[in-house]
């Protein structure tokens, strides 16, 4: 996938080239600056600064209630579905602040796919699940949709398992397969980033393994941010890891460093299982 995207920022036009093999590693997808978030009076995210790079898997770990899921949902502004949410600070997605007034959430979410904790296919056929995104965004051509569906299911490594039952209800397959269908559904609009909110927490070990392998595969084309409560998982699949505690980023570094040589005592306590 090598496309040229034109984005507008403060009236200026900026050219942005994706998947440029020489500089991709250093390119920033999400640059979070001084982000604060409140649920009513509850200060859930405090002064978050986080720079997330392209074509990497970034894991976010931390005990429950630390704000890791909230942060993930802020990245595509899903968090705003909760009434009484307030934010301050900014998150630059590809250089543009996602909280800008004229930045439509739909536009942002078209660029940023999301996979949820529990597999949540729509109660429709597998085909219609995958075609949902392209269709709502105006792609109606049957032939193109067929191609997108196949490509997405292949991309999610589930094509061979479901190709003969595309028109069956998506709930007729196993939980692990449902989750890969949900990943395929997210892939169907060829997003730039995929957010994953504990995608394997409801799955058995074998399905979990398949999803983890898939994540490794997907990072070639996508930038992936994954929230997980499973530290081994973070260690296995991510390039960078951020450790959240009580709404703050305690430490953010290369995954190897975090797990072998954390600089903060609290990180060390958490990864060695002393709390959480």
């Amino acid at each position: 996938m090598s496309t040229t995207n034109t984005i507008y920022n403060n009236g200026k036009t900026a050219e942005l080239v994706k998947d440029d093999s020489t500089s991709s590693a250093s390119k920033s997808v999400y640059d979070t600056q001084q982000l604060n978030l409140w649920y009513g009076d509850n200060h859930a995210l405090k002064n978050i600064d986080l720079d997330i790079k392209q074509n990497e898997v970034t894991a976010i770990i931390g005990p429950s209630g630390c704000g890791k899921s909230t942060y993930l949902k802020t990245l595509n502004r899903m968090v705003e579905l909760v009434p009484s949410v307030k934010t301050s600070g900014q998150i630059l997605y590809r250089g543009r602040n996602i909280f800008d007034k004229d930045y439509g959430v739909e536009e942002l979410r078209t660029r940023v796919g999301m996979v949820f904790q529990k597999p949540n296919p729509f109660p429709k056929s597998i085909y219609d699940n995958i075609a949902y995104g392209p269709r709502i965004h105006g792609i109606k051509n049957k032939k193109i949709l067929d191609e997108i569906v196949e490509k997405s299911l292949r991309g999610a490594a589930i094509w061979d398992e479901v190709k003969d039952r595309l028109h069956e209800n998506a709930y007729s397959v196993s939980g692990g397969q449902q989750q890969r269908i949900c990943i395929a559904r997210a892939l169907a609009i060829e997003p730039d980033v995929i957010l994953m909110d504990e995608p394997t927490s409801a799955l058995d070990p074998i399905s979990t393994l398949k999803i983890e392998e898939l994540v490794q595969e997907l990072k070639k084309d996508y930038s992936i941010i994954i929230v997980t409560h499973n530290m081994q998982q973070a260690a296995r699949i991510s390039d960078k890891t951020a450790f959240f505690l009580n709404g703050e980023v305690i430490e953010y570094d290369k995954t190897d460093t975090i797990f072998s040589n954390p600089s903060d005592k609290r990180t060390e306590d958490y990864i060695s299982g002393r709390f959480g």
């Binding site: 595509n76 899903m78 579905l81 009434p83 959430v105 739909e106 536009e107 942002l108 979410r109 078209t110 660029r111 796919g113 999301m114 949820f116 529990k118 949540n120 296919p121 729509f122 109660p123 429709k124 949902y132 995104g133 709502i136 965004h137 209800n169 709930y171 949900c182 559904r185 997210a186 609009i189």
Partner: protein
């Protein structure tokens, strides 16, 4: 010293168990008496009406002579009434439910609308008749037409449809909404493509039950002035008409005992219509068993 003598407890237990059994039987009898009432009611009506039931009864107009009296005008009239009530009440009811569940903020206006709906559900149907008489029949000059009666009935069953639709919409899992929004779908796209399809069985079941209430309601029709003796069929929604319960009411209140049988036959027709509607509701409920 011990406060509870085990032997005493055991001795008293027999009595307590007896009381338990006695009351269990009393409660069961009370429950069965409701069932008995239903059986007697159905038996009475069928035994009185079955003799008068025939094909002629369905295709004849009302008559002064009991043996010639038929239900054609009322049956067709009730169908006409439903043709107005069903779309009106379902559009208004589902629309209101979508607004309340998906758009309305948690504020005083919403609370007020919600409270208003539950109060409206408690207003006697005869009072809705007075509303229909004043607003639709007279102020809007619709006369005693299918339209005037249909609008009146629609408002009468509106609260039922709103509440049923709200429940159906509320029972759609939040994860489906999240998934749709996560794909960049707008709110209305999410409602039309995800929420309504998932809620449709509940909405339809509730709507059919509400419509079957409307088809059996008599009082509002009497108050808006729907006539009984009609020897023609309505050709449009502005025509006057009569309906099944009106016809049954008229036959029931006549002094000749023969008309009691005609009334019973009319009731059988009405109950069969209701039975058909309710079976459709049950079939829908079973067919769209929840899959998430």
């Amino acid at each position: 010293m011990r406060y509870i003598e085990h032997d005493n407890v055991v001795r008293r237990m027999n009595g307590r168990n007896l009381v338990n059994k006695l009351f269990k039987s009393i409660f069961l009898l009370a429950t069965l008496s409701a069932l008995l009432a239903l059986v007697i009611l159905l038996y009475q009506i069928v035994s009185q009406g079955v003799n008068h039931l025939s094909f002629d009864f369905l295709v004849n107009y009302a008559s002064r002579f009991p043996e010639q009296a038929g239900i054609k005008a009322a049956l067709v009239g009730s169908i006409w009434l439903m043709l107005v009530v069903a779309p009106t009440s379902i559009i208004l009811g589902v629309g209101s439910a979508i607004y309340l569940e998906e758009y309305a903020g948690k504020n005083r206006i919403t609370t007020f609308i919600q409270m208003n709906i539950s109060n409206l559900a408690g207003v006697p149907s005869v009072v809705f008749g007075l509303l229909g008489l004043t607003i639709f029949v007279r102020a809007l000059a619709l006369g005693n037409s299918v339209l005037a009666a249909g609008f009146t009935m629609s408002l009468l069953i509106l609260p039922v449809i709103i509440v049923a639709s709200q429940e159906a919409i509320r029972s759609v899992p939040g994860e489906l909404r999240d998934a749709s929004y996560g794909m960049g779908a707008t709110k209305w796209q999410t409602i039309v493509k995800i929420i309504l399809p998932a809620a449709i069985p509940g909405i339809l079941t509730g709507s059919i039950l509400a419509l079957s209430r409307a088809i059996g309601e008599t009082a509002p029709l009497i108050v808006v002035g729907i006539p009984v003796i009609i020897q023609f069929l309505p050709k449009g929604v502005m025509d006057t008409f009569t309906a099944l319960p009106m016809q049954i009411y008229d036959w029931s209140s006549r002094p000749q005992p023969e008309f009691q049988q005609v009334a019973a036959a009319g009731i059988i027709v009405l109950m069969v219509v209701l039975l058909l509607m309710n079976s459709v509701a049950v079939i829908i409920r079973n067919k769209f068993e929840k899959r998430y």
